[in-house]
Symmetry: C2
Subunit: 218 residues, 2 copies
Amino acid sequence: MMPDIDTIRPGFDLTFQDDFDTLSKWRRDVRRFKTEPLPTNLVDDLLELAALAPSVGNSQPWRFVKITSAHARKSMRDHFQVCNQDALEDYHGEKTKQYAQLKLSGMDQAPTQIAVFCDQTTQLGHGLGKKTKPETLGYSVVMAVHTLWLAARARGVGVGWVSILDPRQVETILSAPQGWSFVAYLCIGWPEEEHQDPELVRHGWQKRVDIQKFIIER
Amino acid sequence: MMPDIDTIRPGFDLTFQDDFDTLSKWRRDVRRFKTEPLPTNLVDDLLELAALAPSVGNSQPWRFVKITSAHARKSMRDHFQVCNQDALEDYHGEKTKQYAQLKLSGMDQAPTQIAVFCDQTTQLGHGLGKKTKPETLGYSVVMAVHTLWLAARARGVGVGWVSILDPRQVETILSAPQGWSFVAYLCIGWPEEEHQDPELVRHGWQKRVDIQKFIIER
């Protein structure tokens, strides 16, 4: 008898485990991209993989808007600049200077840009698992983003998550369908440079803290 | 001159890319565990890897409570049962029968259980990136959970995310430090069985939907 493909459990070897750990270390938020377009099928593959993420009640609430028109692209970039200027004004002294020098978005160059939403009104999953914790719907979308991010990096592609955007305004700018709430704006492309250390560590904004400080027992 | 270890960019080969895709397919929400304890260093490694997740402004808001006492374990299990019974009462007819038959938590068996929180009051990251979208703090914690999840599966370890819990009550039961808000409760251990298809697909609760239906352009 032929074994059922769905029950042949893959064993991942030590090489894969090490490589996965390396991937986790080298996955970076990329803000400097080459403008060279990505192959269409590569982007499609990444979206297919994203949809394999866990979701509460298998609700699959992830929704994607590919930014393909010059108009949408420019509107989003302009909106980021307004929000970023506004954020800058919250800082004082040295932090203002530092903030102004950080590169916080690759929206000028990234060839592929995708806005990611959560369908708050989806009937998929029949509400399972989200009664006490409705945020799990948005969390499911975040895990799809993270799956895409890691899969991209494994292919040498960089991803940057821009969060300095006003959710309600993004929904308006992109005429998001009813019920879709904004989660993330992704810049995707071949990176211009790669580092193991996060951009915000390298530029002195915020160091890494030992995880042991964040663990308690009960 | 010795090359700087932080700038030797790893290239991931096609085998790794395929294996990562397989990992994404086989990562499952596990609810059936062997009671055999996990090696302590394995759990520590998973937490270290979790801390490599992206976080808004490098704020590293993830906080972990290892459930080690019999009292905390029982209190959490009892609380789940109350919430699960309450959720059951929302369904009618066939869905009630189906819901009652689903196994939605491995809290009875899983040798390692970790409650994951978000420190809403952290000063790390100096607020960067979260002004317009404060949820990104919780999203960062979710990506840490997802990193842990994938790293665990690469090692043959199963993870189940229990969300049928009341956040404020969990914070009380576990005497969570001030400012920590509940994100996820993780059951971790060697799985009793493994499948490629999600539990909720296998038991007829909710099918997978083609991702193409969830993509639009602007």
